[in-house]
Symmetry: D2
Subunit: 142 residues, 4 copies
Amino acid sequence: MYMTDPFIHPINVTWGDCDPARIAYTARLPWFALDAINAWWEAHFNGDGWYQLELDRNIGTPFVNLTMDFRSPVTPRHKLLCETYPTRLGDRSITFGMKARQDGRLCFEGSFTCVFTIADQFKSQSAPNELRRVIEPLIRAE
Amino acid sequence: MYMTDPFIHPINVTWGDCDPARIAYTARLPWFALDAINAWWEAHFNGDGWYQLELDRNIGTPFVNLTMDFRSPVTPRHKLLCETYPTRLGDRSITFGMKARQDGRLCFEGSFTCVFTIADQFKSQSAPNELRRVIEPLIRAE
Amino acid sequence: MYMTDPFIHPINVTWGDCDPARIAYTARLPWFALDAINAWWEAHFNGDGWYQLELDRNIGTPFVNLTMDFRSPVTPRHKLLCETYPTRLGDRSITFGMKARQDGRLCFEGSFTCVFTIADQFKSQSAPNELRRVIEPLIRAE
Amino acid sequence: MYMTDPFIHPINVTWGDCDPARIAYTARLPWFALDAINAWWEAHFNGDGWYQLELDRNIGTPFVNLTMDFRSPVTPRHKLLCETYPTRLGDRSITFGMKARQDGRLCFEGSFTCVFTIADQFKSQSAPNELRRVIEPLIRAE
């Protein structure tokens, strides 16, 4: 898997993502954002996204907060490039920042906080070392 | 739960279900159809939909075929009334028919076949008696 | 249409909304929240949701911000009751608050800000009087 | 855009596409199939998918039928490779075939029929020549 620096996840926005205003329906944008965060995990952990983290590593990362500002409409005219990066790694939580652009224009930005859990117990835990090691050097400011 | 005869599941189609042609996006229609089938299970088995069938009764009903004919566009102007009924109960499978209407007009019709499984083994099984008992008297022709 | 006070939009969470952790997938929750806000418009404007506001009244209300805190998992075990209410009506924007509960437990709460546009020009406008009149008396604190 | 022969559209199936049975929810599969058909249009018409066909060329291709057989579960373990091809071009309709595979295994196959419309009139038309020219040599048997 080729990894860009910064990490950017491209999304092919289509007809089916758009509402009658001819722009992507607002409720599709958090879905795109989560796709980008899942892709970030895949890119930095040998292809392991949430599915493999949960089932193979027994690590869950459920969301506790999500904040998004919509700056400009998203359309199928260009790829949606979701720049995705961790902004904070707490003892038990991780926060991601995101700037999503089309054709150089900022479409939305957001902040997303997840906690770490022991997946099969749905119980909070400290960030596992196998993750912390990789994440820490990637933390950056907004 | 009030049960109509025939069983009809109403869907509130909204802005977010529509594409730029101002009608429900085609890929939303199988989703609506499955919502109606899940509601059929809930209505006939004490509120148990697929979630409870799987987790509480260990019965899975995965789909093996889906066929839909789209007759007329679906819009947010009227409720989408999905008439849903079993048309065949085989030893190991069940087929549902559906006619979905808005304002008296047929929007789509379809046929949906599922098999019965032991959920935690993902293994085929004969239709469990607790289901067969209830389903058999409800079978009707298209 | 029967209107509760406060306004509460019920959502039937199903199997298809859940991920392998057996709870509603996070990206479904903003979709549910928007369904509730659309239902709020329908309930207070003679059945007119975003579709009718745009096409019949030429009024758009695109989102500029969305903030959600996830307090407790959402499952198909109970209806998801989305209490929805305007918290602020500015000259050109409206903010909605939401508290979504299952079985008395708070699952998520959120804040959602939209601006008013002349729909066919995608141009910002002041809150039209036909809306302001109805909304103003409904504003409440969080 | 690089075009494979046969045309294959890859889909990154993720956690959010899966239901509690840990496989992609059935109603996601028609969505994936439509994504692949839209990608087929993009690949053969200079990047024009349904959005551009409708808005820039005034050509609609609404679906009139969809038939899918589900052979094997779809999971996030492998890319879903959707082989997509036209099987019939009638005067006013086009039929696509699809075989979707993961790791060499057939997951689903389907047939999808669309009609051609003058988009802004929502009126049936014969297949426009600008499309027929490109499509005809690509027709193949199942």
